[in-house]
Amino acid sequence: MTVGKDVSALFPDVVNCMQTDNLELKKLVYLYLMNYAKSQPDMAIMAVNTFVKDCEDPNPLIRALAVRTMGCIRVDKITEYLCEPLRKCLKDEDPYVRKTAAVCVAKLHDINAQLVEDQGFLDTLKDLISDSNPMVVANAVAALSEIAESHPSSNLLDLNPQSINKLLTALNECTEWGQIFILDCLANYMPKDDREAQSICERVTPRLSHANSAVVLSAVKVLMKFMEMLSKDLDYYGTLLKKLAPPLVTLLSAEPELQYVALRNINLIVQKRPEILKHEMKVFFVKYNDPIYVKLEKLDIMIRLASQANIAQVLAELKEYATEVDVDFVRKAVRAIGRCAIKVEQSAERCVSTLLDLIQTKVNYVVQEAIVVIKDIFRKYPNKYESVIATLCENLDSLDEPEARAAMIWIVGEYAERIDNADELLESFLEGFHDESTQVQLQLLTAIVKLFLKKPTETQELVQQVLSLATQDSDNPDLRDRGYIYWRLLSTDPVAAKEVVLAEKPLISEETDLIEPTLLDELICYIGTLASVYHKPPSAFVEGSRGVVHKSLPPRTGSSESAESPEAAPSAGQAAEQPAVIPAQGDLLGDLLNLDLGPPVSGPPLAASSVQMGAVDLLGGGLDSLMGDESEGMGGSGFTAPGPAAPAGMGAPLGSGLGDLFDLTGGVGTLSGSYVAPKTVWLPAMKAKGLEISGTFSRQVDSISMDLVLTNKALQVMSDFAIQFNRNSFGLAPAAPLQVHAPLAPNQSVEISLPLNTVGSVMKMDPLNNLQVAVKNNIDVFYFSTLYPLHILFVEDGKMERQMFLATWKDIPNENEAQFQIKDCSLNADAVSSKLQGSNIFTIAKRNVEGQDMLYQSLKLTNGIWVLAELRIQPSNPSFTLSLKCRAPEVSQYVYQAYDAILKN
């Protein structure tokens, strides 16, 4: 049976044996039932009687056995019969039966959640948390945690100081496994204040001396999480930090598999709180008999802990490792030396000489790895270690991996002026251009262009050759685009090209491999679990609803650092409706320009066909970021939208060819005139794993659009963006998919204008202008809601005939009239009327009554609702009175808000 043979034919015979007195035989029969009941549900019913009888047996072992087995039989008919015995067993006098019954509730919930709720088992289970027997408590906690996980919203595990106290008491008494369940459950609790957090920590710390590593890690999780709430000035905070280090070190003397789990977790802890283990470098030195997975992890942690104080030791170790046998390990060791050089400036020189020694060994993979890291060192310390280039060039022939070849080519290109035969070297690479990987091709293209700019006379032919190879003979769009950019750049203005291509590059940062902070915080909440082993959130590897709940660290309660609490975030959505600072006209123009230039992201450069001198700046802006990209090692990324710096730079050359473009756009802006609110942050990065979305709505002749800026504040590249709206009051929906052409690299942002239409499905929202949006990318799906200004829905044919206006005004009952005050507005009637007209609010008549200007206006919404308005303006009084009449009075308020926003901007 257990080796995979089907013995279900014996079902009736086996069931006959069920009523035996022999406990062992009974267990075997039950095991058989668990395996085959599902395939023969009708036969399984035969067994029910025996189960029910066994649940009444005087022997507690048999009662428990029956309940345990029944829970494992996933046949609907049987679960119905299970309820009564289970209810009894949950209240059994024997703790052994109760603890089995507690787990059985979780089993039943897995089969039929509704049944469990209807039968009230959840309440009974909650009562068991106060049971006198610690093991019953532990199992009840485990069962409740599991059930709660599949119902993230329900407040099943209603943890409060009293129940926490009970759990902490049970913690001292139950088995090692029970302690794990309880600690894992405690980790989900949010203490009210730092006092409570501290008292829980105090009661959890003794667990750090437990022999079971899982207990220790779970205790570490609770402490790491609650520590977040303790103020750093507290004495206790320091004590706790000190107490955490020894148990973590001790975990490294456990069995290798556990060491691996511990090391993966230490890796997280070191990133979150480096101070805990900063003096413990030596324990991470690799031992001869460590399995390879432990060695690799230790190496990772060594680099994280490397500092000026211990760098000498670390380097000596790393050098030793580089002569080991395992290829992966050696490679990682070599790479680690490079990372040390970048991280600890004082050691750079020693690292470089160590790497040179390693290159002398001529071991193929060591040499290649060394060259890759030396490239990074050059980028961190330019013009410092160029003396080694000669040695590197000697090993040119042995490079067969793309990464190493690309690195070498980069070095040659970057230092072309110091390498006498740079052209020969690059030429030799060029011979097999089409067989190279894209990475190498891109690098080669750039390197040759650099070389040309440095030594234009000798290399003209070479550069011609590579440009034609890249643009004409290649079908890789990245390569072709880059080739065209260089080509046009070189043919237009070599001086500018020089500035662009040979511009000073930003130094690379030290820690490119850190886990991004939001993810790290989440993973800290998962210490000890699989998520912490994979360094991925559970949603990445768990199916279904489980694990979708995002855990987060409690907000820091430090004195000054009362940073953004999660509650602060939603209010950002409301900020949209508050009148914000009026942007200077120039800024507004800049915005518009950005908008117009943003979209053609991956196409050929906009200005390419009719380049004018003035355009170079623009291109420069774009190219700079492109160059930046490439030097970040992101070879292959496409043309990215000009960064925010570009519009600022463009302010100056107004009047040049490009200036016309400006004017044009500016013109469009004033013509259509619809007021556009400044962008506000809709989705803060904190809530969306590093994706920040800000935006606004605008309306231009007959089309509504949503202008978004997506900013990647995470450390990983984002791609595969998509957007969707929930049903809303006016049926707003995206008219086209969200087009983000290139993956969004860290710290980059992209501006997108998303056209909208109003043919989506309609559902009345509260407030009326609420819009719920879902944005997806390769990381996750994020939700936010925003309020859109109503005037984007005012259509162009909203001008009513005079007669019609009068008739309608009278026709609409008076109770539908609403009055509002628009305060602090100093415009005169004409200005008001023209301003409003820009946003499709049409003035039909104007009267002057007793020194007051009365404007009669009409507008129409996309769904055909007419709104009539009377605006009373007193020259001496900055407050206007607005009376609105409409058949659907609920829109009035939002129309008023639109008025207010338009008039004040």
């Binding site: 267990k27 787990v103 079971n212 220790v216 000596a316 030793e320």
Partner: protein
Amino acid sequence: MIGGLFIYNHKGEVLISRVYRDDIGRNAVDAFRVNVIHARQQVRSPVTNIARTSFFHVKRSNIWLAAVTKQNVNAAMVFEFLYKMCDVMTAYFGKISEENIKNNFVLIYELLDEILDFGYPQNSETGALKTFITQQGIKSQTKEEQSQITSQVTGQIGWRREGIKYRRNELFLDVLESVNLLMSPQGQVLSAHVSGRVVMKSYLSGMPECKFGMNDKIVIEKQGKGTADETGKSGKQSIAIDDCTFHQCVRLSKFDSERSISFIPPDGEFELMRYRTTKDIILPFRVIPLVREVGRTKLEVKVVIKSNFKPSLLAQKIEVRIPTPLNTSGVQVICMKGKAKYKASENAIVWKIKRMAGMKESQISAEIELLPTNDKKKWARPPISMNFEVPFAPSGLKVRYLKVFEPKLNYSDHDVIKWSSSTFREHLPGPSTQIDRPCGSSGSRLSCLCSVTTHAATEVQNQGTSTIKLLFCWCLTTCIIS
């Protein structure tokens, strides 16, 4: 939680498969076999994720144990559980081998049913399990027996059953230490730490309360001021323990508040505590290896060991293990003291010395003939290891007292300590392929393990009073490395 548990033999055939959760299908069994057991490469991680299913495995001799899950389980717990599972099986039927597993099919399923429920580990203490999983087909127990079993399995002291009786009450205590040493090529000690274990064998009746005390610096300093004479007697004699972990029978909250180790021991052998120290480690031996490569087919090895303790003390049962390359064809050994032999099956020269006094030195030299190979794979140069017994502990740990108190049975306060002994190992880097290195510099890495065993046995007679005083005679063992 754990969704299923499989046991495979070395060929990848399933011996035991027990599925606890519905989300684990039969194909999981095959997925692990194909992707891990039959994988071409060496296993790169003990956790494998195949198609959103995670597999945790440990290997015991030829047997693979794999736990499977689809959820975000506590990974540390799963591994701890797998080890525990191995312990339980070993306690029931000895070595974990294919044959033993096949012979104990029914027992293993019964155990799996009991210690894992819906993937949640339950009580897994052998002592408790053995009371009701017996494989003897007991048909009925009395009602008292049954409730005793259940209360024990779920009770606070799940590791010990009631009503244990011994004619002679005995308690054995071993201190095992291993020293890890890291040296630079110049012979400097870069780091050294001792990881020690206190192992107990208890054969005591009833529910004895034990208290164990050692020369822990924190405790000594706490009481120290009052009893100045005690510190005077024992000289330096307190040690700073960096960290320690305890068996689950030890009351951790009491240790946290008072630093006292009190517990009710399980019956039989168990590991009471582990500790780690890094300060003031005494290294009993220095080992100086010299390796010379003569041409491509010959290696000359010379190893000197120096004892580094008082001349009046004696180290015993010294065993030095010098690894040889895989392509060794023959070895000639000359040693001045003890016996040395090349063991081809173990790829090592084993040199045994019966006893050696302090401050002496002894050496061995060997010529190793090598078969010419095309040398694709380098030899990993395993360290030289050394095993011995010496009458002191490298960490300086001493047992101060061990008190036993049994409220109902009242053992006597006689106690006889029977014996103590120690064993020891150390590792040095092996004869390397480096040529002509001066002594002690065959690579910077010397990791050496030495272990010390102290056995103290208490025998308690069943007469009147309550506490027990213990006298310890001990032999401790230590080791040193160069």
